[in-house]
Every structure is written in C-alpha cells, then in structure tokens.
C-alpha cells in the first residue's frame, strides 16, 4: 500500500513537472503566403525576438515561424488577388511576458523591409531594395547590397557585410562593424566601437562620443572621410590610399606611423595637429578628437 502511494505521488509530480513547460511554451504557428510586387513594401512591427529575412527571386512573400500563443498576430495584406504592393504585420505580445517568437520572412530581392522590435536578433540576407531596421537590444546583421540601409539600435550590435549604396547606422552602446563598400555612409554611436574594413567608401561620416573608431578601408577617388570623436581613439589604417589627411585633437595625442612628419602642438599648446598629403591627394580625410588619441597606420 505504501509503495502504491509512493508511486502515485511520483506520477503526480512527474505530471506536474511535464505540464509546466507545455503551458509556458504554448505557441501559435505563423504561415502567411501572398503574391506581391517585386518592389513590395513590407512593414513588420511588434514583439518578436528573432527575425530572419531572405531575398528571393520570386514574386511572392512567405512568412513562417512561431509566436507565443498569447501574442496577437495581425497581417494586413489587402483583399484583392492582385500582387500586393504593400504588406503590414503587427505583433502584439502578451503583457508582462518576456518577448519571444521566431519568424522567417522571404520577400522578393527588390523589396523594402521595415522592421521594428524591442529586443531582437534580425538577420537579413540578399535584399537589394531598402532596409529600415530598428531595435533596442539584440543584434542586427545584414549581408548583401541593399540600395538603402537604415539601422537604429540602442545596445544591439550591428554587422554589415556587403555594399549598401546609402547607409545610416545609429547606436547608443552597440558596436558597429562594416565590411564592404558604400557610397554614402553615416554612423553615429555614443559608446559603441565602430570598425570599417575592406572595400571602398566614397562619402563617410562617423561620429562617436566615447567609442573607438577604426577605419581600415579605401576612400574612393575624390571621396571624403570625416571622423569625430570626443574621447574614443581614432585609428586610420591607410594602406596605399591617396589621401589628404587633416587630424586635430584638443587634448589628445596624434601618432603618425605613415610618414616621418611629426604632429605640431595645437592651439594654445594643447592637443596636436597634423596635416599630411599622401599620393596625389585626391581624397580627403578629416579626423577630429577632443581627448581621444589619433593613430595613422599603413
């Protein structure tokens, strides 16, 4: 009898333990398919923790994934059977519950995608249209050559591999890493690090308050590079670039490992200034720092 009661108790405990995760992870499936135009505008706003966007060579949109059962998922895709020029998704998460939900979105390569969430991981691949991505935390990764790329993040990191034509990235503490090329690039960060490498950049402006900035890429012919930092270090890895360089610090130091020219003391004997002309000087770099150090390297 005692053994029977013991087994019954064990069964009850096991049932209770197994029931908890089932309820906690109750999910709803998302499976939306729609014919869309090649340059469809897709807007996705709300509570999701993971979004993967892939551009494909089809005139249709597919969104799949899972969301918490309590989430309200509202697609707005128009009622006609013609390819939709615009599609909107709104996801309202359950109140007082951590944001979760994983979505995968396939859109024509020429689509423009606007996505916004609180804390989320967003990965985008193969879009040649426009991207406007906005998160608080998490991370954003873009691979490909979007025509326009706008990213805003509080502390989420930003990684771009490719050659957007126009790009803006703004973070508070999130790090920004760009590998590729860009015609018109603007990056602002409060304390995140900024790293730009590899390809060629035509017009670039980087503004940082305390984050370090490393530029190790080419500046296009007649291009401009402007880096402002309050206390972050600025490192310019010049390579074989033909560049006019104008570097100024208010109280920081300048190290020139490119030529033998030494920086001169700044105004009132504080800080340092250095002007260099490398090659035929058909591009221009302006580096300004309040108290961060500036280093020029090959």
């Amino acid at each position: 009898m005692r053994s029977l009661r013991y087994r019954l108790a064990l069964l009850l405990v096991a049932a209770a333990v197994s029931a908890v995760p089932v309820n906690a992870h109750a999910q709803q499936k998302v499976d939306v398919r729609r014919a869309v135009t090649r340059d469809v505008y897709v807007r996705l706003n709300g509570a999701f923790s993971s979004l993967k966007v892939t551009g494909w060579q089809k005139d249709s949109l597919v969104m799949t994934g899972v969301l918490p059962k309590e989430s309200r998922f509202e697609p707005a895709m128009g009622s006609s059977s013609a390819p939709a020029p615009g599609v909107k998704f709104y996801i309202e998460g359950a109140s007082n519950a951590p944001i979760s939900g994983s979505l995968e979105l396939f859109v024509p390569v020429g689509a423009t995608v606007w996505a916004k969430s609180g804390s989320a991981t967003i990965d985008v691949t193969g879009i040649t249209g426009g991207l406007d991505l906005n998160i608080v935390g998490g991370s954003i990764s873009v691979t490909g050559n979007p025509r326009e790329l706008n990213i805003e993040s509080m502390d989420g990191g930003v990684t771009v591999n490719g050659a957007p034509n126009w790009m803006r990235a703004k973070t508070a503490t999130g790090d920004v890493t760009i590998r590729g090329s860009c015609t018109d690039l603007g990056i602002t960060t409060v304390s995140g690090t900024v790293t730009i490498r590899d390809g060629s950049f035509e017009r670039t402006r980087v503004e940082s308050v305390t984050g370090n900035v490393t530029f190790g890429a080419g500046v296009s012919r007649a291009g401009t590079l402007l880096i402002d930092s309050h206390s972050g270090a600025i490192e310019l890895q010049i390579g074989k670039a033909s560049l006019d360089i104008d570097a100024t610090t208010i109280t920081g130091s300048i190290t020139n490992n490119v030529t033998t020219r030494r920086p001169t003391p700044g105004r009132d004997g504080r800080g340092e200034e250095l002007t260099l002309s490398l090659g035929i000087g058909d591009a221009r770099a302006t580096l300004r720092s309040f108290k961060g150090n500036i280093r020029l390297m090959r």
Binding site: N45, E74, A76, K88, Y90, E92, S95, K116, G118, N134, V136, E148, N150, E152, M154, D155, R168, K170, A172, T173, D184, L185, G186, T188, V190, S191, R203, T204, R205, E207, V209, T210, T224, L226, D228, H230, S231, T248, I250, T251, R267, D268, R288, S289, F290, K291
Partner: protein, 221 residues
C-alpha cells in the same frame, strides 16, 4: 484596458487597418476617453497639415547671400566675462551689430537644422558652422538646449511606455554625452573660435538630440 497604440491610431486615421481591427479600434475609442482624445488630436493635426505645401524650396541664391554676409560680418574674438564698456563699444557699431545678428541667425538656424534633421535625409558629410565668438556659440547652444528640454519633456510623459532596463540604458548614454558636452563647453568658452572644437560640440549635441528623438519615437510606438 489596453489602449490603442500609436501605430494603430495612425493606421486607423490612414484607413489602412483591416476591417476587423477597425471595428475593434472604433469600439475601444467609443469607450476610452484617452484614446478618443488622441485620435481627435491626430485627425486635427492631419487636417491642419493637409493644406500645407509638401515642400519649401529656398531661393537658389539664399546660401550665397548668407555666406557673403557671414564672411563680411566675421568679428574679432570678443573677450569673455565683463569686458570694459569702452572696449565693447569699439565693436558695437550698427553695421557690426547687424552683421552679428545675421551671423547668429544663420549659425543658429544651420546648426539646429543639422541637429534636428532626421536620418534618411541628411547627407553623410555636413560641416557645422564655425563660430567666431563665444556669444555666437552660446546663442546656438541655447537653441540646442531648448530642443533638448522639449524632447526631454516629451520623453517624461512617455516614461511608462519604456521598460526600466531601456530607461537605464538611455540615461546612461545621455550622461555620457552630457559629460562630453560639459568638457567641450568648458574648452569652447576658453577658445570660442576653435573650429574643430565647435564642430565636435555640435556633433555631441546632435547625438543627444538624436538619441532623445529615437527614444521618444520608441516610447510612442
């Protein structure tokens, strides 16, 4: 009661909500005074802005004129603090006063415009104007601060819409910028004609205004 969010209100006004959502939203608005007020304000704003021109094109030669006036009106470095009245009088001729006024207006407008421009439209490389006097900088800084106060006030009213963790991150980032601004201001007051310094300061203010704008948008969506 879950209030309608900003997105839904805008979609309702724009007529792009799905029919089921329209019914739900209108039902909510009938019972919720707060959302009804927000909806009415939104409709009123749209009604007012509907008749405004979609773009304003300044005269082609405006910048040339402003630039010419600025160049003509550049003043010598004014001493800070209580300079002797006679010394000030040498500079304060009516012509110079007019030039200084134009300089102030142009510099303030340019800097504010740069700082307030939203992301997609401002070019990658924008040179902030250089200030030749402490007074010019201080005037521009007052405009910046007025914008900061306004955005701060908006953010305060939306505090409940942001998570405590986000608010902590925002305040930390703002403190970092404020520290940089304080250091820059001190240096700029010692050397107001330092072009690099004034541009670094403008950059820090841009960061602050941009951060406040983004967080306010985040809270209101």
């Amino acid at each position: 009661m879950n209030h309608l969010n900003w997105e839904t209100l805008n979609d309702l006004v724009d007529g792009v909500l799905p029919p089921a959502a329209v019914t739900a939203a209108e039902s909510h608005v009938r019972e919720c005074a707060s959302c009804a007020t927000a909806l009415a304000e939104l409709r009123a704003t749209l009604a007012v802005t509907h008749d405004l021109p979609t773009s304003l094109t300044p005269p082609a030669d405006l910048w040339t004129e402003v630039r010419t006036t600025i160049e003509a009106g550049k003043m010598a470095h004014l001493p800070l603090g209580s300079a002797p009245a006679r010394a000030r009088g040498i500079f304060m001729t009516p012509g110079r006063l007019a030039a200084a006024a134009v300089l102030l207006i142009a510099a303030t407008a340019s800097l504010t415009s740069i700082a307030m421009k939203s992301s997609p439209s401002f070019p990658a490389v924008v040179e902030a104007p250089t200030f030749t006097t402490a007074a010019a900088w201080q005037a521009s800084e007052r405009v910046f601060q007025a914008n900061v106060v306004e955005l701060r006030s908006q953010l305060e009213s939306l505090h409940d819409h942001l998570s405590p963790e986000t608010l902590v991150k925002v305040e930390k980032a703002l403190s970092t910028i404020d520290l940089a601004i304080a250091e820059g201001r001190e240096a700029l007051l010692r050397d107001p004609s330092n072009a690099a310094l004034s541009e670094l300061m403008a950059s820090n203010y841009r960061q602050k205004i941009e951060l406040l704008r983004r967080v306010t948008q985040l809270a209101s969506s």
